[in-house]
Symmetry: C2
Subunit: 887 residues, 2 copies
């Protein structure tokens, strides 16, 4: 005889293919001794048999169902169809693979005009009993008898109209009896027979309906989309219903096994005596904290604590529980992994390792890396009262307060005068760098998550809110409007880069810290991960911060920010605009000691760890005055001279502007992203790179003499052809040898390149011959592989692409594995083929993105490099990737 029916609690193994997901889970909980309402499962095999029998429950099945019902009556002490103490059951589908919402459910099965009275008596709540019955008829009518919804709804609406009420809640027990009578009439009219009053008949019909629902249109389509085989079939779960409104020894509530906000290992939750779930939700009565249960029902409370512990033991995680107490008996209606804050996740994971409940590996997998971002930036104190002016995009996390300034120069002046400032601009450009450096935070009205402001701010770990539509700037008037509020330069605002909020005035903040729990978790992560984590840092402070956050080196030290220093800009401009080689040499001579100082500080801060220094990358015109400004100045001066022809001063100024404009125009580019930058500068102006390389090795030599162990790695940007790298490598080797000869000090030599141009990726075999390391510059590689200019795409079409799902996600945020990733895989395969010991890293923003880190792990990279603030996130994500989880 085939076993078609499995009871829970029972002794059979929980076979998901046979019992379906829900059935197996109920069996598992019951077998673990957890108090779930008892019931039984008709197997997926029964589903096949039902369909093969032409949509009929076989006699064998019916016999087994009868036996199970009899057992259930014994288990619950209730009788199926017994008006004195009616057993009610739910009938639910449950396939081996979850198909949420696709198939049907019937609740409160077993009610009829007799048992409903029994339910009313037992719960002392006639309204509740009639409402249950009404719902049952409606559900059964819909699911089992195929009567259109709206017929029942119309009937209900009519009664409400008649009673002059609008809400179901306002109907009385008598009203509901009226509804029931009408529902029964609808059934009789629609199906030509009376509503089945026998619970056994109801049950058989409901089971058949659930089996049939496997083949309903929605389910078939769902399976096709999700590639679920049609022949799996569904199981049917029949479970006894329990009620928390059966007197003062009953109740219902929700609880967490640990505090979901702090992680404190104390049961946390609330309950209502003599109530059902709906009452808790409706908020008519105020629930009690769970601790009160110790006084009201001490035994139940004790049991509840045990159950919580048991649940954690069984599921090995903090649980979010719905429970009901029916006449002094505790039942779990649902348990699932508890949602929690970042802080709680951290504490729970670490505590559970200490409690021996989970392993370190599991603990590492329990914390969402992105959540760490919340913990590692200053935050707006959540308890402080705030005035929200507007919201923009949460472009770079952290909170900042300061005085509004509208331009970079003012930002710098006020900051130097000791003020905190927020730089408020339409959008930022590389020329605003000194203002961004000086400001506490950045607010822009245009540009997206990958706009210049956002990228630079994230790189600096500085709060930024971008694309705040409600912000309108009237720079010339020195004021702006944010939403309805007019503000002037010098007024104080706060921004919250984690949420995009713009707030009025100063707001109290909470400073970030690497808590003991986090340090411990990250130490475990470090034991697990195989992927290195470095940081992108351009100055000693950031380097030190990165080291404190656990970075194993600097993956990207950009030298152009050093050129942006306001003291240096004039020298840099002199270098760029030099009319003769001698003039250029003189300017470079001035820059050399400054750069040497920069490198000295960074290499010292990262003593003993590798520091990858990228030689100058951006086009030179980024260091020059803006072309449009000069055009406007020239035009204005010309007109002014029309009116004041004798002004020699204006004439002189015009000549100056014209000269400068001519030079800027000569350097101007139509597509600077694809223009004269990176190693193309190194090839055409080798003296600039030579100065930088000299500064690096002289700084390193000095450190060696002082007893340090600097590990500079020189990185050549924007290589597309091996010959570029070959020549730049020769330059580096020559200067390295010269510095060693002059100083008599040995400094390690390591030269590599960015892979940020598709051609570099596809000719990686050639390039690897000249490179000790590759660093995937995935920001630029994404731009060139997609043919997207990040500056333009965001505002013009990329948001549409992401919203309309033309692209699955923003490729500047999460690495595009299908396109960019294939090029990376090619480069890695070919590069390692030629040079097996090749070091491979990534230094684009993707280095701080969880899913991208997983992909980098799979690609077999040596390390990822990201902003200092994201180093902990990366350490954790790398460990999770090593544990093989899915990102």
């Amino acid at each position: 005889m085939t076993k078609w029916v499995y009871r829970f609690p029972g002794d059979d193994p929980a076979d998901k293919m046979l019992l379906g997901g829900k059935g197996a889970n109920l069996a598992e909980m019951a077998r673990a001794g957890l108090p779930v309402p008892p019931g039984f499962t008709l197997t997926t095999a029964a589903c096949h048999a039902y369909r093969q029998a032409g949509g009929r429950l076989t006699d064998e099945m019916l016999e087994q169902v009868s036996a199970a019902i009899a057992w259930l009556e014994r288990e619950t002490g209730k009788g199926f169809g017994d008006p004195a103490n009616p057993l009610l059951v739910s009938v639910r589908s449950g396939a081996p693979i979850s198909m949420p919402g696709m198939m049907d459910t019937v609740l409160n099965l077993g009610l009829n005009e007799d048992t409903v009275e029994g339910l009313a008596r037992r719960t002392d709540n006639a309204r509740f009993a009639y409402d249950c019955y009404r719902r049952f008829i409606q559900m059964f009518g819909d699911v089992v008898l195929g009567i259109p919804h709206y017929l029942f709804e119309q009937a209900l609406d009519k009664v409400k109209q008649r009673r002059g009420v609008t809400e179901d809640q306002q109907l009385t027990a008598e009203d509901l009896q009226d509804v029931i009578q009408q529902y029964l009439r609808i059934v009789e009219r629609e199906v030509g027979r009376a509503f089945p009053r026998q619970p056994r008949e109801q049950l058989e019909m409901a089971i058949g309906a659930v089996f049939r629902s496997w083949d309903n249109q929605r389910a078939v389509v769902y399976r096709r989309i999700h590639r679920i085989p049609d022949d799996l079939g569904t199981a049917v779960n029949v479970q006894s219903m329990v009620f928390g409104n059966m007197g003062d020894d009953s109740g219902t509530g929700v609880a967490f096994t640990r505090n979901p906000s702090t992680g404190e290992p104390v049961v946390f939750g609330e309950y209502l005596t003599n109530a059902q779930g709906e009452d808790v939700v409706a908020g008519i009565r105020t629930p009690q904290p769970i601790a009160r249960l110790a006084e009201e029902m001490p035994a139940i409370y004790e049991q509840f604590l045990r159950v919580c512990q048991q649940l954690e033991q069984h599921y090995r995680d903090a649980q979010d529980i719905e429970f009901t107490i029916e006449r002094g008996r505790l039942y779990l209606l649902q348990t699932r992994s508890a949602k929690r804050t970042a802080q709680a996740a951290l504490r729970i994971a670490v505590d559970m390792v200490n409690e021996g409940l989970i392993t370190r590996h599991e603990a590492v997998q329990r914390v969402e890396p992105e959540a760490l971002d919340q913990l590692l930036h200053p935050r707006i104190d959540p308890d402080a009262p705030v005035t929200e002016l507007a919201r923009g995009l949460p472009a770079s996390p952290g909170a900042a307060s300061g005085r509004i300034v509208f331009d970079a120069d003012t930002a710098q002046q006020r900051a130097q005068a000791g003020e905190s400032v927020i730089l408020v601009r339409t959008e930022t450009t590389p020329e605003d760098i000194h203002g961004i450096v000086a400001a506490r935070g950045i607010l822009t009205s245009r540009g997206g998550m990958t706009s210049h402001a956002a990228v630079v701010a994230r790189g600096m770990g500085k709060p930024c809110v971008c694309g705040c539509d409600a912000l309108e700037i009237f720079e010339k008037d020195g004021r702006c409007r944010i939403g309805e509020t007019w503000l002037q330069e010098g007024d104080v605002i706060s921004i919250d880069g984690a949420t995009g909020r713009v707030l009025l005035g100063e707001v109290p903040q909470i400073e970030p810290e690497l808590s003991e729990d986090l340090e411990r978790l990250l130490a475990w992560a470090d034991e697990i991960r195989t992927l290195g984590v470095r940081a992108n840092a351009d100055n000693p402070e950031d380097a030190a911060k990165a080291r404190a956050f656990g970075a194993g080196g600097i993956g990207l030290c950009r030298t152009e920010h050093m050129f942006m220093d306001p003291v240096r800009v004039p020298i840099v401009q002199r270098m760029i605009l030099a009319a003769t080689p001698d003039e250029r040499a003189a300017a470079l001579e001035e820059l050399l000691p400054m750069q040497r100082g920069d490198f000295y500080g960074i290499l010292k801060a990262m003593d003993g760890l590798p520091v990858t220094i990228r030689l100058l990358d951006p086009p030179l015109h980024e260091f020059l005055p803006n072309l449009e400004d000069l055009v406007a100045r020239e035009a204005a001066l010309r007109v002014r001279l029309e009116y004041e022809a004798d002004r020699a001063d204006l004439r002189a100024e015009l000549r100056q502007v014209e000269t400068l404009l001519a030079k800027v125009r000569r350097l101007h580019e139509l597509n600077p992203m694809l223009g004269h930058r990176g190693c193309r500068l190194g090839i055409t102006f080798p003296e600039v790179y030579e100065m930088q390389v000299r500064a690096i090795y002289e700084a390193a030599a000095q450190l060696v003499r002082e007893g340090y162990h600097p590990q500079p790695e020189v990185m050549i940007p924007l290589v597309g052809h091996v010959e570029e790298l070959r020549r730049m490598r020769a330059l580096v080797e020559r200067v390295h040898a010269e510095v060693q000869a002059t100083t008599g000090v040995e400094v390690p030599l390591s030269v590599g390149t960015m892979i940020e141009i598709p051609r570099a990726a596809v000719t990686a075999d050639e390039i690897a011959e000249c490179a000790e390391f590759f660093s995937f510059g995935t920001n630029d590689l994404t731009q060139t592989t997609f043919g997207f200019s990040r500056d333009d795409a965001e505002g013009k079409f990329l948001h549409v692409y992401v919203e309309d799902k033309v692209l699955p996600e923003n490729p500047f945020a999460t690495l595009d594995q299908t396109g960019v990733g294939r090029l990376m895989a090619w480069a890695i395969r070919e590069g390692r083929r030629v040079r097996p010991e090749l070091k491979l890293g990534i230094c684009g923003e993707h280095g701080g993105d969880k899913r991208s880190i997983h992909f980098c792990h799979e690609l077999g990279l040596t390390y990822v490099s990201c902003s200092p603030y994201r180093v902990p996130l990366a350490r954790l994500a790398a460990a999770q990737a090593a544990l093989g989880g899915r990102a």
Copy 2:
């Protein structure tokens, strides 16, 4: 006994490995009965034996050399060391693989103080004889005895000083005797023994020296670089010398077997009686045309004509010959394939097929495809006198004369008034298109071979000279300076786009024609080639021209040029700047019939052939006024209002400019190349593409009704992700169905995409699912794969890259096989895997480049597409590729 010495003429097969390249060639010519001076070759095996014997000629070798010399004396009727009639020989190296200039040569061997007198008598030219002797001592001293060059040169200089002359030519016979005495003393002093006077000793020493030269430093390095095995060894060729200055029955000359300029099958050349080669070169006497030989030496002339025929029979190509007649005997000193003009190459190839000398396949391989470019554009009449003002880059071939204009609007106005104009600008931008269309030719002072002007002009087949440094434009003054000449708007100049010449005034031109010879050759090419050839054409005239030149369809019809039509620009601007969807729809409604007319004309011109129409590609701001101009206008108006605050008209104008500026700014992009263009426009403004697709199918439907067979192929530009193509394809299919439903006419549907973004190439497997064809847009693909903006790279660094050999060549001119080519190969492999019948084409400028066409053939493309004028070139190059030759 090993045979170490092979004589020529002789009967042995010409084995290159044994006799070396030169030896085998001499043997071959001699065996063919051609009159080469007799001689013999010591084999490469002898070289090995020499080295193994410790640098010694074995007795066996010496015996064989003696026998060969005796034979040679008989052959020539001269005696080795015989003062009465001395036999002189040359001794040269000759390895199996040519190593030009790497090894040594000794001429005039056999001279000493006795034989030199004999030579003087026989030639009746003592000065010549002594000069030969002097040179022989010097060469022998250097090559065989290892005496430093400069010692001989110093001695020669001293004699010249003493005689008060500066040129060797000015030394008399007596002077040279003096030099000889000094040379002999140098030898004695340096090597400690007298110069060897016995010819036999001279010969043995020279042979040994040539064998040793195989191991000299230069040769070893050369072999290493060119990967030539060290153990090949060299042969030594000993050949009797002949002299054309032995009297009136002697002479020397050069000749071509056919006219190298016209190809006419008549021997062409010149000679001098009683002279040697140097006399011809020195130009002291005027040579006679070869025909005169028929009178002066009729027998020799007859023999010469026979020899020419024999040479062509043997080498199966027109030859360039050096010959000498010594005492009534004709000798060939050198013969090689004759250099020839394009026209000659064509005629010779076709004639030789008709003469049965070569096959059609060979004829097709004989003509250089690039040469056709000369034939297919108007040319400056080479016989016309011209005044050259300057030279720029030969950016687009063809000649044009016209009046100078400095801006596109004027160009258009004057052209409409019936004038021929040359557009003269610093550089051109897309906004100048209407001016380029209107002008006969373009001249720019900046930008390279791939600048905007160059690319557009080549695409239109319009002459263009770019980057003419000597041109300075003073647009505001309406004049320019070219070199030293000042010219005004309206002055006439001519440009020669094939050479880069800029000429003063109007210059007579020769119009191009597809000659009968060319038509025949191309017909043969068409029989051979497997690669299709299409043309890039945007209007019916170009389409018709392309068809006349043999194009099998249009590979790229750009629709943006249609938008640039001056009548349409205002409508296009209204469409772009539309404030509401209705406004945009109205503008598109106006454009629809115009576009329909465009497509009607092109599809009709190409009736029955496929026409690939690319939907709108460039960023919309290209159709709007220039941003900088607006900035300047705004600045100027603001200042003007400061002085004239009450001018309401200025205030109104300012408001207008501000509004326009704001809109242009909104559309402005930092990197337009990577911005909002191509299908990104189609996704965000589907109504524009919809209008274009409707215009295409309505035009096609009309043609079908009229009995034509239009074959439109709709091409979606700039696809990077399959989803872009999927959506655009759906749009095309929808509109196609609508037009079919409305018109009731069936029109073929074909949708494909450009592959011009690296991501499209690496995800070709996905993209092929939605595309019937791929067209490689290698212009943009080169830009994105290299990360080069073509507009910026040319002027800023690419010329340096090409000059300094950082890149082997300009990748915009010749396809970069290592980088871009790998991406193409990937896309082709993956695309064909998914869709085996996928059509594959290329529509970048590389489609007209010979080497790139070879590569496309190897990649297995279906067709290349190029400018109409390059279609013949492409047909020929495709045939050559099919014949497996190297490009």
